[in-house]
Amino acid sequence: MVTGTPTPLDAARRARRVAEQVPDPELPMLTLADLGVLRDVEVGEDGTVVAGLTPTYSGCPAMAEMRADVAARLREAGYARVEIRTVLDPPWTSDWITEAGRRKLAEHGIAPPGAAPRGGPVPLVLSPTRPAVPCPRCGSADTEETSRFAATSCKALWRCRACREPFEYVKEI
């Protein structure tokens, strides 16, 4: 139990806390902070909140939705002036999905991504084996890819040979 006078959070921390809680429109079990698309939240001297969002994929149709959701939540929280900026650099990587985010994905039957490939040359590899993605339901490594692309840009379709369940998997990028 917390006792004593609560320490007043400064405006930026409070605004950040509001923005962090906004759920992702396509993976609603994650917040935008869990997904790593919320980049920075600052409050200017005139009280304007400036929040930076980075797209997961260039064509992600949820960007407009995220922008609108963050702005609306901040306004609801009492910030009259809100500005949402698109941050393109550095590009989003699935490595920015937080530990909490990975746990929540797995709890919802979506396999979290492994480590993203680092920069440098991108060789074409035709070897048939791909690292196995463990089944988020039963944990078996006996799984196979059924489609490299799925209902959203960021996911692929897999199935588990052990428990026979199909599942989605957030791609490393």
Partner: protein, 275 residues
């Protein structure tokens, strides 16, 4: 609220950022990005590069979207549509950048919907009609390998916006190339019929390869990728004579205009419409 038409009712009377349906209310994809053109960067050349790369992506996305409801399996339809969506996203960013720097202030829609075929600068390979699935994956292999090599160079471009769009695109194009390469191997090394169709697709694509080496010389990277895939697939890349002319100079096949007619029809019929 007007109640005479359900769609009119949906589209009006909302405050702030509320929208009536997911995916509506498109706005500038570079919203809030610093638009300054760095000193020493030729704005005209930058805009032209952005438009050419955007045109490649838009026209490719349109051809990929034509597979929706026609692909051999649902998974492939989803894959081709997703690849098209990535390219459409790249096109939106690049058109928006072009409009910022070329002095016209045009938005993405002005480039996509209100230019004629002669004004497009995409390579002709992108506009060729759909053909069969073998042609789709061969063309995708060539174009994604080329665009990937090109974007890797552009990551070091002095314009930070173009460099950032390229850095993002590299990750996406790596997936596109991988998808296409795996299908090329599967079909080339498959049945007699799939092998025959792959050979026909390579024959169709080969004359257009010469057009791909314009701004940056990435011939070696593309040739390496094609050699690796064709060898694994039991195929050989045919020797070809490059076709004269260049889509980069606005010289197109007869296939681009009908593609644009379909792509632009609604926007031109209702130029004040928003979505």
């Amino acid at each position: 609220m007007s109640d005479d038409h359900v769609y009119l009712t949906l589209a009006e009377g909302h405050e702030d950022d509320t929208r009536w349906a997911y995916g509506t209310g498109f706005e500038d994809p570079l919203h809030g990005v610093d638009t300054t053109v760095p000193e020493g960067v030729d704005a005209g050349a930058l805009a032209a590069d952005c438009v050419a790369l955007a045109d490649d992506a838009l026209v490719s996305a349109q051809r990929l979207a034509e597979w929706v409801t026609r692909a051999p399996e649902l998974e492939e339809e989803v894959a081709l549509a997703n690849i098209g969506l990535d390219l459409l996203g790249q096109a939106r960013l690049l058109y928006s950048r072009a409009g910022q720097v070329d002095g016209t202030g045009r938005d993405e829609d002005a480039y996509a919907y209100f230019r004629d075929a002669d004004d497009f600068r995409n390579v002709r390979l992108a506009e060729l009609p759909g053909g069969d699935f073998a042609f789709a994956v061969v063309r995708l292999l060539v174009l994604s390998s080329w665009r990937l090599a090109h974007f890797r160079r552009l990551e070091a471009h002095p314009d930070p916006v173009l460099a950032a769009v390229a850095a993002k695109g590299v990750k996406e194009l790596t997936y596109h190339r991988q998808y296409a390469a795996e299908w090329c191997v599967r079909l080339g090394d498959g049945t007699d019929e799939s092998h025959r169709r792959m050979r026909a697709a390579l024959d169709e694509v080969a004359p257009y390869l010469g057009e791909l080496h314009t701004a940056y010389d990435v011939r070696d990277e593309v040739a390496d990728d094609l050699r690796q895939v064709t060898e694994a697939a039991g195929l050989t890349l045919p020797v070809y004579r490059p076709l004269p002319g260049s889509g980069r100079a606005g010289e197109h096949t007869e296939h681009l205009a009908p593609l644009l007619t379909e792509l632009q029809g609604i926007a031109r019929a209702h130029p004040e419409a928003t979505w």
